[in-house]
Amino acid sequence: MRECRPLGAELFHVLLDREAGDALSPAFAAGQFAQLAVPGHSLPRPLSILRCSSTVLEFFIRRVGSGTDWLCGCKAGDLIPVLWPLGKSFVDQLPPGVESEELLLVGGGVGVAPLIAFHEQWPGKSRLLFGHRDAVGAEACALMQGACQPEISTEDGSVGLHGRVTDLLSAVLAEEAPMPRRILCCGPEAMMEAVAALAARHALPCLLSLETLMGCGIGICVGCAVPMADGTMALACQAGPVFSAEQVVASRPPTQTCSCVGAKA
């Protein structure tokens, strides 16, 4: 642990010093995640990677349960076993030849993390729409987003458009000028369902980074099976967490509560 910076409203910027000899390869592609082992817990916590340099791994997370509570209580120098990068990225799931101008990146809450990562890895003219609950969320995100310049909505109207990110999206989709041809989305489940529905209405392909209850993260516990539209099941940790919206069945069980691919507890 290098630093865990509180950003208000249970939001944290987590910075981990990388050790020589990271378990897997040193690079990551936006949308991939890391598994952080938590002492005394049977399951590691999956966190979407915000950014990584040769020395530091960064996350933007919400404290939601005992696992993230432990993480946010860690002190500089504490050792945290991390397995990364895991899963399929946005780029893995995009068809070849896609230009960034075509893309609309839609994020909610800490689900903005992989989208910021995507924008940094694939700089260009993709447009970003971020939704937050309130000014605290928006300000926290502003500290995370580097050079990104998202259009913002807040549910309490304190910053940007008063409403949800789907309102922002509806407005963008109603514009005449060059329409995006593809949506990349990560956020709370209800938000992603609404975004997927809007995308479908406008016949836009849409990628979702699913927040799914996850176990091991490497395909051995088989605990994160996501029902696919074709009737099969796919493991979110291996076939995902980024899926195309048409691939996944809309309704999932109501037990999954939190944000981004990130920690559920």
Partner: protein, 311 residues
């Protein structure tokens, strides 16, 4: 250096640490994360005659001291196992045990007969180390636990499989019986070469907000450190009742836990839930066991087996 080798039915394993069925996929999933050839062996995910998607979500619920799972024997089925998984497993450098499950005795027989046929085509160096019959899955309606709950059906099943599989045969028993010694003796008398104890224990957790059980099957299999004392007791009781080797499993997290299981009578152990948080945990346990043995002046792992000093 203490000698970690253990005798194990007709096999000799380089150490007592193996990976449990359902927690290491078909080996390949973990091969980059730990050196399989430095383990005693691995037990594959259960293979059923037909492909199974498994249960709906949610399948996992973490509790204070363990994990509930309700996977539902998801696996690609016998044909896909033989075509896509078996060739890699044969070359993975560690003894491989295939876990077999089914709805009916015919199901078990079908899988085991096919594996026997495949074995006759394999070179002696790449043969399977054995079959582990899963007669104890708590998460599907007919997951074999109907065979593992009473001696009569267990005897019939083991005899039937014994008739079509000539290699080492292990039976993974459930802790949900009144007398585990009776079940252990039944399996041994029917021709089992060894026993695995224990499978998960039915458990439950409830989400207070939704008032829903936290796994889709309402009750599901409980594993992890919470069940270690139960597992140790069952291993001890079974090992005293039979001559065949017992493989201990249940909540093993550290090399010292391995030593406890060996003392209780296990000839080897399986690491399951602990691999989820740290895929290389079993490999680290090899070193931890070795260090403990050296500290204690124990020359060989084999001498620990059953060496508990009961009151």
């Amino acid at each position: 250096m203490s000698d970690l080798h253990v005798a194990f039915a007709s096999l000799e394993l380089r150490n007592p640490l193996t990976l449990a069925s359902g927690t290491c996929g078909f080996g390949r999933e973990v091969a980059d994360l730990l050196p399989l050839h430095e383990l005693g062996g691995l037990f594959t995910k259960a293979v059923t005659p037909e492909a199974r998607q498994g249960n709906a979500m949610p399948r996992l619920a973490e509790t204070a001291h363990g994990l509930l799972n309700s996977i539902g024997l998801a696996n690609p089925g016998l044909d896909a196992f033989v075509a896509d998984k078996l060739p890699w497993l044969r070359g993975c450098g560690c003894p491989v045990f295939v876990n077999v499950a089914g709805r009916t005795a015919e199901d078990y027989e079908r899988v085991c007969r096919r594996l026997q046929e495949e074995e006759s085509r394999a070179g002696s160096a790449t043969r399977l180390a054995g079959i582990e019959l899963n007669v104890s899955c708590p998460n599907v309606k007919e997951g074999g636990i109907s065979f593992g709950a009473r001696p009569g059906p267990l005897t019939a099943l083991v005899e039937r499989v014994r008739g079509c599989w000539s290699g080492p045969l292990f039976v993974k028993l459930t802790p949900q019986v009144a007398d585990v010694a009776e079940m252990a003796r039944a399996a041994e008398a029917a021709g089992a070469d060894g026993l695995t104890l224990i499978n998960t224990i039915p458990g439950m957790a409830i989400d207070l907000k939704t008032r829903r059980p936290r796994t889709i099957t309402n009750t599901s299999g409980y594993s992890g450190p919470a069940i270690k004392p139960v597992a140790l007791a069952q291993v001890w009781q079974a090992a005293r009742a039979v001559k065949v080797p017992v493989i201990g499993i249940g909540g093993i997290q550290h090399g010292r836990d391995v030593a406890e299981f060996l003392l209780a009578g296990a000839s080897a152990v399986q690491v399951g839930t602990a691999s989820f948080a740290e895929p290389a945990r079993a490999r680290h346990m090899v070193d931890e066991l070795q260090a403990w043995m050296e500290e204690e002046g124990v020359a060989s792992a084999a001498e620990l087996v059953g060496a508990v000093r009961p009151w």
